[in-house]
């Protein structure tokens, strides 16, 4: 299958090759259709390490068609398709509907992923558009990013906030 991964912003060839091998598995699977892939975490932030003391994981959000709706079954399916290429890759598999729902509900991991994430495969602009809407909404609500927290403005401590 023909596809183009934009890995131009990844400097370290070790991680580049690792991502390529992993994605090939996904594109080669006749059970799945890849809709989009975002790279986030230390590799996307150019802070990844590959030395004697530490080897960073690669964090990905993968949007797919054809995955099991049942999360329990999905894990089995994921492990089977990834095979050994899944080692060192922390991939979150989502359907398009799940991605949009989680973005709308401001699921913490998605906030982090979209903040620093790099869409490496996004032919329909799903990831770019979702990120833009999410960031616009956070700005409109006055949400700030701290070191370890996302900070919602509050009038009074303990009040209810709609994410």
């Amino acid at each position: 299958m023909q596809y183009y991964l934009d890995l131009s912003r990844i400097e370290q060839s070790y991680f580049k090759e690792k991502i390529e091998r992993y994605c090939k598995k996904l594109f080669d699977s006749n059970r799945l259709k890849v809709i989009g892939i975002t790279l986030f975490g230390s590799v996307a932030r150019m802070k990844a390490r590959n030395d004697d003391e530490h080897l960073s994981d690669v964090d990905l959000i993968v949007v797919l068609e054809g995955i099991n709706e049942d999360y329990f079954k999905r894990i089995g399916e994921k492990v089977e398709i990834e095979g050994l290429e899944g080692a060192g890759i922390e991939a979150i598999w989502l359907t398009q509907n799940e991605l949009l729902t989680q973005a709308r509900r401001k699921v913490p991991l998605l906030l982090d992923a979209f903040k620093d994430g790099i869409p490496i495969y996004d032919p329909t602009n799903l990831l770019v558009n979702t990120r833009r809407e999410l960031m616009k909404d956070l700005k409109r609500k006055g949400v700030r990013e701290g070191e370890d927290l996302w900070i919602w403005p509050v009038k009074r401590l303990g009040e209810e906030i709609e994410f």
Binding site: E69, D70, Y71, F72, R74, L94, T95, N97, E98, T101, Q102, R104, R105, K106, V107, P108, L109, L111, D112, G146, E147, D148, L149, W150, I151, W152, P153, V154, R156, L157, G158, E159, E160, I161, E162, F163
Partner: protein, 188 residues
Amino acid sequence: MPAAGDHLVMSTAPSTNYLRTRKWLKMAVKDVERSLRSYLQEDYADSAFRAQFPAEKLCKSMIFLLGFQFKKTHTPAQIIAKEALRERTTKMSSDVNRILSDFTRTARYLEEQGIAARYGLEVAGTLVTPEEFFSRDRAMELLKRLTSLLDVFLEAVSALKTPSEKEIPELAEAREKLQELKRHAVLS
């Protein structure tokens, strides 16, 4: 009963900090129950192992209640101490600040026990297993700290004045569990 994974798409309604506070509190109370049960069954290493989870989960519950979302972390007590208290200083009375500082200290103590409870401890070049390390007395010490933690969590919620038990029904479960912990801590 929703199938596993339904949570991923189940609700299209907006999410709130109260919903997340409730979920983390509910999980914490369940872990308290499990830690106590293991203690009563004399599985002290397991009791100690499980005692750290409510600490992490109560912190996460509190982080949401204070109007934050945490990033990827396994040490939320440190995040409250390092960032959350500072961010909300102008919004809290000195009383609330003191209570939350107590809460954070106790949670950190339990968080720090996590490694020994999982993998044992290297002592003078020898690996001491959790079963060897966590005696009845040490497991009880952790349960006592857990009791204090739950107590101070509830005290913090009361000091904030909101939410009420109607808004967070899990607070009633937490109070019940606290009484149960206190009964056993006294009996030991």
